[in-house]
Assembly symmetry: C3
Homo-oligomer: 248 residues x 3
C-alpha cells in the first residue's frame, strides 16, 4: 500500500517558518511521505468555526488521508491532544472542539488521547511541529503512537450542533462560507443575513455583476457571494455573523 498523504489544516498563514518546519519533521521521519497544505488560513484561533470547515473539507479527502489539524489558541495549557479514526481517515488535533463536528457526523469512530508527555523535546508553543506532525508521521508509517482510548462524549465540542447558522470563513475574494451543510438542509430558497434576504443561485455566472446571492459552494456549504465583488465587505460580515436559512 502506498503511504497515505498527510494534510495540513491550520490557522498559521503561509508566513513564517511554521508550515515548513512541520513538513520537515514528516520528511525526516520518512522521505516518501507526501504533504498537502490543504488550508493555512482556517479561522484564526477559532476552533469552533474551523470545526465546521474541516468537517466539510473532509468529505473531499481521499480514503486513507491523515490530517494534522492545528487551530490551537490554548497551546501550552493543559488541553489534551487527540487522535481520531473516522472511516479510513486519521486526524490528530488539540482537544478544543476542532474534531467534534466531523466526529459527530460519523456513524462510527475511534478516539484516543495522545500521551504527549512521551514526545521528545516538546516546546511549549509549537505542538504542530513537536506533537501533531510526529504522531501523524507514525500513523502514516503504520506505527502506533502512545495513547489511551477516550469516549467521544468527553471531547470538547461534543454537544455542538451539526450545522452552525453563522459565517465560519471568509475567503480571499470576500465570499463568506456558513457552517450549514446544504445537503442536510434540503430544499432552501434563500438565506437571511445582515437584514437582507439573498436568493439562491447556482453559481456566479448565473447572476448579474454586483448582485448578492447565496449558493452551495464547492465543498457543500451554503456560501454568501457577490458577483465580481466582496460580499463580506458589502454586508460587513465577520466570522461568527448570524445567518438564517429560509425555505420560502
Amino acid at each position: 500500500m502506498p503511504l497515505p498523504v498527510i494534510y495540513f489544516f491550520t490557522d498559521f498563514g503561509v508566513q513564517g517558518p511554521y508550515l515548513g518546519q512541520m513538513e520537515s519533521v514528516l520528511l525526516a521521519s520518512c522521505q516518501d511521505i507526501r504533504v498537502v497544505n490543504l488550508m493555512s488560513d482556517a479561522p484564526f484561533a477559532n476552533p469552533r468555526g474551523a470545526a465546521y470547515l474541516l468537517a466539510a473539507l473532509s468529505r473531499y479527502l481521499p480514503e486513507h488521508a491523515v490530517v494534522v489539524a492545528v487551530v490551537d489558541p490554548g497551546v501550552g495549557s493543559a488541553r489534551k491532544a487527540l487522535c481520531l479514526h473516522v472511516g479510513r481517515r486519521w486526524y490528530v488535533a488539540p482537544d478544543n472542539g476542532l474534531l467534534s463536528v466531523l466526529s459527530a457526523a460519523a456513524g462510527d469512530c475511534s478516539l484516543w488521547e495522545i500521551d504527549s508527555s512521551l514526545m521528545p523535546a516538546v516546546s511549549a508553543s509549537f505542538h504542530g511541529r513537536d506533537v501533531f506532525a510526529p504522531v501523524a508521521g507514525m500513523i502514516a508509517q503504520g506505527q502506533v503512537p502512545q495513547m489511551q482510548p477516550m469516549r467521544r462524549e468527553a471531547m470538547v465540542g461534543a454537544s455542538w450542533p451539526s450545522d452552525l447558522e453563522e459565517v465560519i470563513y471568509i475567503d480571499g475574494f470576500g465570499n463568506a462560507m456558513t457552517g450549514i451543510c446544504a445537503s442536510r438542509v434540503g430544499d432552501f430558497q434563500a438565506l437571511e443575513v445582515a437584514g437582507q434576504v439573498l436568493r439562491r443561485a447556482t453559481t456566479f455566472s448565473s447572476v448579474a455583476a454586483g448582485e448578492l446571492f447565496c449558493y452551495v459552494n464547492s465543498i457543500g456549504l451554503i456560501e454568501i457571494a457577490l458577483n465580481r465583488g466582496s460580499a463580506a465587505e458589502a454586508l460587513q460580515l465577520g466570522i461568527g455573523h448570524a445567518v438564517h436559512v429560509s425555505r420560502r
Copy 2:
C-alpha cells in the same frame, strides 16, 4: 519514463482550500505525481493579461510539463474546457484566451475540447478540482481523456496580438511586468509609461536607489521597476495600463 511534473497556474491566491484540493485530487489519482505551484496570483479574473504571462513562463518549464491553468471568471457558464499540446508540453484550461498567446507563438500544436459532461461530480464553481486537475492527472499517467479535436482559430483569443503593450502583472514588490517579450522587440532603449520615459538598465544594482527604470526580467518580459521601492505605487500603475516601447 518518470511521471511529468504538474504545474498550477491560477489566480486563486494561497488562501482557502482551493490549491490544496486540486493537489489532493492529483495525488489521489497517482501518488508519484509531483505538483509545483508555479503561480497562484495570476491577474485576477483577467485571462488576457494572464495569457501573456503564461506564454512567457512556459519557456522556462521542462519539456514534459503538464500545466493546469485556471483564471476563469466564466466558471459555471457554457464556456469550453480545452486541452493543448505544444512541443512536448500539455495544458488544460478554460477557453477564454488563457492558452491563446502560447498557442499562437507555437509553430505547431494540437488542440482539443474536453468533454466535461463525462467528468464525475462536476461542481458548478470549482472546475479546477473537478475538471482540469483530473484531466491533467490522466494525461500525466498516459491516459487519454474524452475530447474532440478543435481548430486553433476557434479558440477565444485566437486573434490577440503576439505582444501586449500593457502592464499585465504587478508583483509583491511593486514591479510591473508588461506583455512585451523583449526578444521579439529587438534593440529597445526605453519604455514610455504614465507620461515618463524610463531608460533601460540591466538590473536593479545598476541604477541608483529610488530610480525608476525598465529592464528585461527573468522570464524575458520588459518590466518596470524602481530600485528599493514600488514602481507601481510611484507611477500609479494597474493591470491594463498602456506602455510603449521606444527604440531611441
Copy 3:
C-alpha cells in the same frame, strides 16, 4: 541513501512565479528531489536579520539538509556566490552575510566560492533559479559544482556578533523575534524594548489576554509577544529595533 531534502529560505514572498520556478529547476534535474519551502518571508532585502533567523532555524533541520538561502539585494552586482558545508548540511547563498552567523557558530565548516560564470543562462536578476537552485540540485545528487575553497574570515559578515540585540523578524501575528539565542544568554528574567520591561513567561497561555511578555520561542530565540494581539503594533516595532536582555 535517500536524496536529501532541499529547503528554500527566501524573502520572495509567496506571490509571483519565483518559488515555483526554483522548484521546477530542481525537479527537472532529478524528480526524486523533495523541496520544502521553509520560509519565504525572511526579512526583506535584509541579509543581516535573515542571517540570525537562518542560524536559529538550522538547528531544527535534519542532518543532510541542503538549504538554498536567497535574501539578495545585491543580485546582479559583483557579489560572490557561496557554498557552505556545516556538519552534514549544505548551504548555497550570496556572499552578503546571510551564512555568516551559522558559519561562525559552527566549530568546523568548509566554505567555497561558486564559479557562477560556468552556470548556463544566468539572468542578471534571478540567481535563485539560475545559480543557487541548480547548485543545490547538483549537491543533492552527489555531484561537485565548480567552485574554489575560501577562508571563513573572508565572508561578508565574518565579524558580526553571535547574537543580535535587535528585532530581526515580525511574524504574521505581530510577534517580534529577536536575534538573541536564549540558550546562550542563560538565566534571563526580562527584556527591555521600546521603554518597557517585559517579563519572561513560558508561553501565551500563561499570561492574561492583552498582556505583553517575552518568551523563548519554538526555534530558541527570545521573542516579544502579546497574548491575543500584535506586539509589533502595540510597541511600534520594526526590524532593527533595539532590545536589551535583563538578568534581574
